[in-house]
């Protein structure tokens, strides 16, 4: 099912044109990072740690360097040693020194797969052979893999120099607790005392990976003037430039990043892994060097989302009013500080209006790869805790779960538990749309075929969305088409949505806008394609740049007709004189006269908008479980979401459907499986099983549009909130089917069978 959206209000927005890069993508013509070829290109390989935690006593590269065809072998000794500076990457922050140690280990390796050396050679096989000849002498240390173990006194210490913080105070001595922060509002003790029912539970979630199919890649040159050029697949050229420059201790302006097409990211292609390594190999060899990651290393060495330990406690009155809630969110950051626990804290209670709240968040380092953003980072885990507790409360109250959520819904003016006051939001509208859906109003037959048990679950989620910086230029061609240059790399069709917003302003068809993603020297600073910000902020910039074009075209028309600019009106794609209706030119006609009225017209805009409106999603899921095998099949799934305004409804639906596919995998199958030595043992697509066409039903989408007053077209971020409630939705459906609450992910066949056995 699809919903009609803004039809009628706009000419271009709300329609479904073919994406501008569509044919490049079905013919093999699109150039992704691994496809780049340069003259005199060398191939690289990275040697990685087989241990989850070990001290590097020595590295002997002599045999590798002696192998014919090898041009350079590097270790951390070849890195300049980055400054201890925290930088914001748009979706998460990093410390340059830790980032440098993450791309090439210093005195310790902190997870299996941690790079320890790299090679450049004439061909890939020689590079691999050389890497195998590097002798690393390790002193193996005991690893620590989970948050709760890492917080125990006497736990192995991951980072010996970590200065831990607890509620603003420095922790004495060595610790794995990077931080503990708290948001507190009202009086939770009083609130729980007023409650008739109080439910509290603890949860464990497994670390999972973003799972993009394109592995990381980077190709670099370091020239005689100390200028570095990087070709890569990234969610942001400028953040890649900043990380690479920071690690290499170069000015940002000495690094140029040329973004190629990107084969998925979901947050995982914000951090840089290979770029600085390829650059140093190029510095050492004087030739361009290419590094391609293997799948195993993508799992073992690049940013997954945290495993967690969480607890959530909610109190309600018998009439269904929430009186108080507390949450304790403990996230593993991986090997370096910086888990998304802060974002989880911002989201955990934000579907609701709760008078008394306390949220504790812990950022904890463990011997696992450094976590990275993954689609609404931190919010999915938090929603799993909160929304399954809410489900239990609804069951205890005998209250319809959507009615309960509408009764307690956050609204305009509600204070979010971490402080901000909600502007206009669509929580009520989203729940109302779910209540009116065909899915919710079609009763589920509880007995499936062959003794299978069926259940229905519902849950909701919130994501705040972000704005940040974007720049766009629009150049008018004499044939009336326009070239639109943006800095946002296009992961899922954003060229189309950005072009459509410019087309809407200019009064031309979307097809007459030619969008182009520029490199870091071809456009103004633009933050990551992440945080659900691209269509919002880059679209905002496209709107403003198109307005700038309109201003300039009005001036050209005034010049042409020798009248004052104020005399020129722009409406419906035409420029006309207010006093003389005969004087009227379409955009296209006026464009053809630019050469004779002063030359090309180029509009530009750079924005940093503050009004990214938060978004809500409510999801309904029907499942069928085979009690003999524990296998769960998702048989029907509906996602309802407030998107503000759907620019290209097909891509909005695509984001919603894609996120649901990911959270079904997260709920039922996906996990980092570690052995006793702390090493991941399922680092292949065969063993880390992600959903395929056989695992998913058609995912039904219902678009709700509560326009965001903070955007000229009412856009809210779309890409992230659809994953937030998914794991909880599946958990609630499992409870409905079996009468069992699973509070550990993944909720796979094994855990379902064990729970059924324990229940008997």
């Amino acid at each position: 099912m699809t919903t009609e959206t803004t039809k009628g209000k706009y000419n271009v927005i709300g329609t479904r044109p073919i994406r501008h890069d569509g044919y490049d993508k079905v013919t093999g013509r699109a150039i992704y990072g691994a496809d780049i070829k340069l003259p005199a290109l060398l191939q690289g390989a990275v040697l990685r740690s087989p241990h989850a935690h070990a001290r590097i006593k020595s590295i002997d590269t002599s045999a590798a360097k002696a192998l014919p065809g090898v041009s350079a072998v590097i270790t951390s000794a070849d890195f300049p040693g980055a400054h201890d500076t925290l930088i914001d990457l748009g979706e998460g922050a990093i410390n340059f020194r830790y980032a440098s140690n993450n791309v090439m280990a210093g005195d310790k390796v902190l997870y299996k797969g941690h790079p320890v050396a790299a090679v450049a050679a004439l061909d890939k096989n020689t590079a691999l052979e050389a890497a195998a000849l590097i002798k690393v002498d390790y002193e193996v240390l005991k690893p620590v893999s989970t948050v709760m173990e890492a917080l125990k006194p006497g736990a192995p210490i991951v980072l010996e120099d970590l200065e831990g913080q607890d509620l603003g105070e420095k922790i004495d001595g060595q610790t794995n607790q990077a931080n503990h922060i708290r948001h507190e509002f009202g009086d939770v003790e009083k609130g729980f005392a007023e409650a008739d029912i109080v439910i509290e539970h603890e949860f464990d979630t497994a670390m999972v990976h973003q799972g993009y199919i394109e592995p990381h890649n980077a190709t670099a040159t370091w020239d005689e003037e100390g200028r570095v050029t990087i070709w890569t697949s990234t969610q942001g050229s400028f953040p890649t430039r900043r990380q690479t420059a920071g690690i290499l201790r170069l000015p940002d302006s000495s690094v140029k990043v040329i973004p190629l097409e990107i084969g998925g990211g979901f947050g995982g292609k914000i951090p840089s892994y290979l770029e600085p390594v390829a650059a140093i190999l190029s510095r050492e060899t004087g030739r361009p060097v290419k590094l391609l990651m293997e799948r195993t290393s993508v799992f073992e060495s690049t940013g997954p989302t945290p495993g967690t330990w969480m607890s959530a406690k909610v109190g309600v009155k018998n009439d269904g009013t929430i009186t108080a809630a507390t949450a304790d969110l403990r996230f593993d950051a991986g090997a370096y500080p910086g888990s998304p626990v802060g974002a989880g804290m911002m989201c955990v209670f934000s579907c609701y209006d709760i008078p008394n709240t306390r949220i504790d968040g812990y950022d904890v380092v463990v011997n696992k790869p450094k976590t990275a953003a993954y689609r609404a980072p931190g919010a999915t885990q938090a929603a799993y805790a909160m929304e399954t507790v809410v489900d239990e409360i609804c069951q205890k109250l005998g209250m319809d779960p959507l009615e309960f959520r509408i009764k307690n819904a956050a609204k305009e003016g509600t204070r979010r538990a971490d402080g901000p006051i909600h502007p206009i939001i669509g929580a009520v509208e989203t729940h109302e749309a779910a209540k009116a859906s065909d899915h919710w109003n079609t009763p589920l037959e509880k007995n499936g075929s062959d003794g299978k048990l069926r259940g229905r679950g519902v849950a909701s989620g919130y994501w705040f969305n972000i704005g940040l910086k974007s720049a766009v230029t629009i150049s008018v061609n004499e044939d009336g088409t326009v070239a639109l240059t943006e800095g946002s790399t296009d992961i899922g069709g954003s060229r189309a949505s950005i072009a459509m917003m410019a087309a809407e302003v200019l009064g031309i068809p979307a097809e007459e806008v030619r969008p182009h993603v520029a490199d870091s020297e071809g456009i103004g600073y633009t933050d990551v394609t992440g945080g659900s910000r691209t269509t919002y902020a880059t679209g905002y910039a496209a709107h403003d740049a198109a307005q700038d074009v309109v201003v300039q075209l009005r001036e050209r028309a005034a010049k042409l007709w020798d009248v004052e600019v104020d005399e020129i009106e722009f409406a419906n794609g035409s420029y006309q004189s207010k006093s003389d209706p005969e004087l009227r030119l379409s955009h296209k006609e006026l464009a053809s006269k630019l050469g004779s009225t002063g030359g090309p017209v180029i509009g530009s805009a750079s924005v940093d908008p503050e009004g990214a409106g938060g978004a809500y999603s409510t999801q309904i899921c029907d499942i069928e479980i085979d009690p003999e095998t524990g296998k769960t099949d998702v048989i029907r799934y509906t996602i309802v979401q407030d998107v503000g305004t759907a620019i290209h409804p097909s891509y909005v639906e695509g984001q919603m459907q894609g996120a649901v596919a990911q959270c079904i995998g997260w709920a039922l199958n996906e996990e980092y499986f570690l052995n006793d030595d702390g090493a991941m043992v399922n680092s292949s697509f065969l063993d880390y099983r992600m959903p395929t066409s056989l695992d998913l039903p058609e995912i039904e989408t219902i678009i709700v549009e509560v326009p965001n007053p903070g955007h000229p077209f009412g856009v809210r971020g779309v890409g992230e909130v659809p994953i937030v409630p998914g794991v909880a939705t599946v958990a609630n459906a499992i409870h409905d089917a079996l009468g069992i609450r699973l509070r550990t992910t993944p909720m796979n066949a094994g855990s379902i069978l064990a729970a059924l056995k324990a229940k008997k």
Binding site: A30, E261, S684
Partner: protein, 153 residues
């Protein structure tokens, strides 16, 4: 050795242990076929060998010698795209599109042997492919519309 790729006969000098994917990409410059996992689990590297959808990342180049190899670059008939290619564009059957070449090749192979497949047959034929952007529903519609059923939406 002798390879026949996209209707062209080629002589290539390569090590026998190399994979077909490596030779296609690095010797012949056919970059439309993608590496995803190197273990035959994700389907991004799928090409046609004598019309059969085949994982080029686990196919030794020697086993493809003398046989008809078709890659995404050779699927169109001159200027006319294969109906599956057109349908993928029309149905927005991809987001990042990294897996798309593989999905298109397997879909083309399916329609070649079964011009009017059922939904279940399409899903089964594509079950060895992973699309992490989760475009499965749209891919199903695209393949259906390119099939004998035509525009079955």
């Amino acid at each position: 050795m002798h390879l026949k790729v996209n209707d062209e006969s080629l002589e290539v000098a390569v090590d026998a242990e190399r994979t077909l994917l490596s030779v296609l990409r690095h010797e012949l410059g056919l970059m439309g076929t993608k590496y995803g996992c190197g273990e035959g689990n994700c389907g991004a590297c799928t090409v046609l060998i004598d019309g059969e959808a085949t994982r080029s990342c686990i196919t030794p180049v020697t086993s493809a010698g003398g046989r008809e190899i078709t890659t995404i670059e050779g699927l169109a008939n001159g200027d006319e795209l294969h109906p599956v290619q057109e349908a993928f564009v029309e149905h927005t059957a991809f987001q990042c599109a990294y897996c798309t070449s593989g999905f298109i090749m397997s879909s083309a192979a399916l329609l070649d042997r079964n011009p009017s497949p059922s939904d279940a047959q399409i899903q089964s034929a594509l079950s060895g492919h992973i699309c992490r952007c989760g475009a499965y529903g749209r891919i199903l519609k695209a393949v259906k519309s390119a099939s004998g059923e035509g525009g079955a939406e």
